[in-house]
Amino acid sequence: MKKKLFITLLGISLLGLGLDSCKKNINGPAGDPNTGEVFGIQGDQVGRPGIATVFVAAADKDAFNQTQPSAMSAAFQSKFQTQLQAYNGGNYTTNILGLDAPTFTGVLSSDVLNVSTTGTTTYYDGKNVLTGRNLTDNVIDISLTLIFGGPNGTANPGLTSDHVPANDKPFLTSFPYEAAPW
């Protein structure tokens, strides 16, 4: 009787172990807990810095996050252009990159970060344009200048820089490059 009970209990505990292992292996080879798992509820989305918050109206923000980049320009270019003109009292003509309103907003409304694999990577350094984004890039001043600065970058001088040129901590010269937390 005791032997039967023992065997039964042993069997149940082994079964329990088996079930536990099954759950871990259900999505792939032993040890990887995530292989094959599906994530389908859209959260947030970012390409270039600040695009959604500058150009997307509050009512459209969730929709913007649900729109894949391949469909973004068709859905949002016109709205971005309206917003750009509104920022400039209807007087936007071009900026320091020589982009007119349709072209500029055409670029911005496909919200992806362009990255060069062959050379300098920067949002803009006066010479290289949209070849990446590094930690020290002053994306705010760059963006403000492109939106408000006019053909030479000198229009609206009170709006083209927030005069915060750098991060609150120096970045690291080696991986992981970002500074330790406060």
């Binding site: 292989t35 094959g36 599906v38 973004m72 005069h163 750098a166 991060n167 500074a179």
Partner: protein, 220 residues
Amino acid sequence: MKKKKLLIGIGLFALILTSGLIWASDHADAPSVKGKSDDITDLYVFQSPTNPNNLVFIGNVQGLLSPALTANASFDPNTLIEFKINSTGGLVEDHVIQCVYNNGKMYIYGPAAPITTGATSTIVGNASLIIPVTSYTANAPTVVTSTSGISGFAGPRDDPFFFDLNQFHAITGGTATSFNNPGKDSFAGTNVMSVVLEIPKSLLPNVPKLNVWMQTKQHM
């Protein structure tokens, strides 16, 4: 009306933005993600300063963490952090790098061709790298490197974003007409949860220009 004293451009600017938007890179940008673990703050992609044969990908989430909040912050196992790459034009991803948190570790998958694209993400293959998450109180960041040359870090970092957001609010709210000089970084003293990956370019599409974007998704 106060706004008559401002430039017409600023007036319209303020009208458009007084619905409470904040221009803070992407910090807390949309109602459905605001304040949640899937809120993205910033994406950075740049050539490694220590090795021009590598690209560095940085994806930051959960912005505006004070030190106290950071001490209790963690990645969410139900949130996928994903870097999407398009190398052929058309802006549909042809490579993905996926980051999934599980039990103290950040699992990195790819770079690899996606199984599904767009609104659904499926974890591809087995992890290329498993990164023990660095705790808030650690003296040094934990860094791991795979045999394929991918280095990874996951954990809290000083928020690298800098902007005088408060003055921007004053401008859009009509109480100021310009930025101050010097300005004051509204993100000073705050942290984010960060994933940093340094990836050999040889593991990425062999084209001169990539298009990259970052998404977070919740588990179905």
